[in-house]
């Protein structure tokens, strides 16, 4: 019996075998979707770039060299140099760390927050549900970017505050999903069984309700990544996010704005990085949705 047969066995003997088999089936389905594979590759590229930035980048991201100001792209400087003679390619490479940190932190803050709020609202129902979802709906009915801008204005510019502001605007969507998922199975027999043997509310929510919400959460979070990247870059562009000399992509575009008519590469190059990474998350999210959440099915 080959490993593949063992994985695809219709009647797995152990829980591990069942889980591994399911993971195997999902991976193969995902890998059959060319766009999803492209997305996966781009996201892996982002991870690798962030991890190995010092070895990939030919120069430091902050070292100035005023003799090499505003040089066009060449073999030596693949993306040219900026107004302080810094190698744009190196800055874009190091910028991947900032982007990765922002999306990771926003996801780590907002997804669990939304998940718990939504699950609690859906599980208890009644006035708890009404209050929590009322708050969620107010946040959902407001434009995200504007809300994030106002929060950063109050908190003060800076990358930490930008992350907090984006997280504040991102959680309601997760709360909605978690609530909808919870409603579909809160009266199911296995939940009632746990309740009958004396499982507390928190045990039911954390051990039995939340795990069932994770797959739709992962899909949604991946699809949201592009939006988070764009908002973070927008805040950086307006000077409200990462501060110089940090090589944040949005802030780099903002610096290049002055030179856009003559030295187009200063503003343009970081933009390509943003588009590539956002597209990667979009592709991957689309593919993951088809695998994990077939009932939503974007592709009809």
């Amino acid at each position: 019996m080959s490993t593949r047969d063992w994985l695809l066995d219709d009647s797995p003997a152990t829980l591990t075998q069942a889980n591994l088999g399911r993971a195997w089936r999902m991976t193969t389905t995902l890998l059959r979707n060319p766009l999803a594979v492209a997305g996966l590759l781009i996201v892996l590229l982002l991870l690798a770039t962030a991890l190995f930035a010092p070895w990939i980048a030919p120069e430091t991201p902050v070292g100035q060299n005023l003799q090499a100001r505003l040089l066009p792209p060449s073999a030596e400087h693949w993306m040219g140099t900026d107004e302080l003679g810094r190698d744009i390619f190196s800055r874009v490479v190091y910028g991947s760390r900032i982007t990765l940190m922002i999306v990771a932190l926003v996801a780590v803050i907002s997804a669990p927050l939304g998940l718990i709020i939504g699950a609690v609202a859906g599980y208890f129902g009644g006035w708890v549900d009404r209050i929590l979802m009322g708050v969620t709906d107010v946040f959902l009915s407001l434009p995200k970017l504007i809300l994030a801008l106002a929060f950063v204005a109050a908190l003060g510019p800076g990358i930490e505050n930008a992350i907090i502001a984006i997280a504040i605007t991102a959680w309601p969507a997760y709360a909605r999903i978690a609530r909808a998922e919870t409603l579909t199975f809160r009266n199911d027999e296995y939940i009632q069984a746990v309740r009958l043997v004396g499982g507390s509310h928190s045990r039911i929510i954390f051990r039995h309700v939340l795990p069932l919400c994770t797959s739709s959460m992962i899909v949604r979070a991946t699809l949201d990544m592009a939006g988070i990247i764009l908002t973070a870059a927008g805040l950086g562009f307006l000077g409200l996010g990462a501060q110089p000399p940090l090589p944040e992509w949005g802030a780099m575009i903002s610096r290049g704005r002055t030179f856009i008519l003559d030295q187009w590469w200063v503003a343009t190059m970081p933009g390509f990085a943003i588009i590539l990474v956002s597209l990667g998350f979009c592709f991957l999210g689309d593919g993951l949705r088809d695998v994990l959440d077939p009932k939503q099915g974007g592709e009809k």
């Binding site: 801008l149 109050a154 856009i260 503003a267």
Partner: protein, 347 residues
């Protein structure tokens, strides 16, 4: 008699619907006010300090604190705030020294002009593109449309604006540069509506009109691209739903010409959900215009907001947030109601 009874019931039902709508909308507005209040009074560590500056004496500080009403309980402050907003008082901007409400009234038409042209472009191109992609499902047209739509989610608006300026203005010279008018056209037409195209047309000054259009077309097209991506994607998915149904097959079997199958049998039922989608993307354009206006120095509400942000002009920031948020909520609710009125199934 029977007719009267049904009509009364129907009227009652719609009154109830309208009543519910008003209550929900009012609550959402109250939520919006709570958020802007929270941002303005609670998030900053010391709102007084941000007004008087750190060199003020203790007496000045205390006086400002009382003048701002910050010595009273938070809930009273909130009701005060709601009351003054309802009277149209949004405070005074520290950078323009004018009431924020007046400033916003002056700049809003510029945003409205750009967003409206943007949504017209988005609908005019997005709906046919979506229908086309749906009828050519899986072919290259469909694939191109899919990538195009995903690009709409991945391209930063401000970046596209800059590249557009570099390419179409500096490179090809097809459009005019940033701003609403060239400097020598400014002040030629009386500002009646503050919508430049309408003002110029009212004054009959077609040179100004052409110049205003040349300035407007690039930012509006870029906004239009984002709504196009969304509208085309949604149209395609609605259309696929319809084209898979049996009455479409029946129509084809009966020998109805293909264009009629698509545009009459297929398209008619999706008009109602499309209205909601268009409403949503119109609201989203008001949001997107913040970035575009900054890039194009377009004197609208987005530019006003970002300028205020950089000057730490909190009254102006919150006022602009409130207005954009309100318009956003209103458009959402209206398209919700339209959906309910137009689609008998949802009643």
């Amino acid at each position: 008699m029977a007719i009267d009874a049904t009509m009364a019931v129907r009227a009652g039902r719609s009154a109830k619907g309208v009543g519910g709508f008003v209550v929900v909308t009012a609550l959402t507005f109250l939520g919006l006010l709570a958020i802007t209040f929270f941002i303005g009074r609670v998030v900053p560590i010391d709102p007084v300090l941000s007004v008087v500056g750190d060199r003020a004496t203790q007496a000045q500080y205390d006086a400002a604190r009382v003048a701002m009403g910050l010595d009273r309980p938070l809930i009273i402050q909130f009701f005060d705030y709601v009351w003054s907003v309802m009277q149209g008082d949004l405070g005074t901007s520290i950078s323009t020294n004018r009431p924020v409400a007046d400033d916003l009234l002056r700049v809003f038409p510029a945003t409205l002009e750009m967003a409206t042209l943007g949504i017209l472009i988005g609908v005019a191109l997005g709906v046919p593109a979506g229908v086309w992609a749906a009828t050519r499902r899986g072919e290259w047209v469909d694939q191109v449309m899919r990538v195009f739509a995903l690009l709409g989610y991945s391209v930063p608006a401000f970046w596209l604006g800059l590249v557009g300026l570099a390419f179409f203005y500096a490179g090809l010279g097809w459009v005019a540069g940033p701003g609403r008018l060239d400097i020598f056209y400014e002040g030629l037409v009386p500002a009646r509506t503050n919508v430049m195209l309408i003002d110029a047309a009212l004054a009959g000054d077609w040179d100004v009109f052409r110049n205003a259009l040349a300035h407007l077309v690039l930012p509006a097209s870029i906004l239009g691209f984002f709504s196009l991506a969304f509208i085309a994607r949604m149209t395609r998915s609605f259309m696929l739903d319809q084209l898979g149904q049996e009455f479409i097959t029946t129509a084809r079997v009966k020998g109805v010409p293909e264009w009629r199958v698509i545009w009459v049998h297929g398209f008619k039922p999706i008009r109602v959900p499309l209205i909601t989608v268009i409403g949503l993307s119109y609201a989203a354009l008001l949001e997107g215009s913040v970035m575009i206006e900054t890039v194009f120095s377009w004197p609208g509400i987005g530019n006003y907001l970002t300028t205020a942000l950089l000057n730490a002009d909190m009254n102006a920031v919150l006022g602009a947030t409130l207005v954009i948020g309100s318009v956003f909520i209103l458009i959402n609710k209206i398209s919700d109601v339209l959906y309910r009125v137009l689609d008998p199934r949802s009643r």
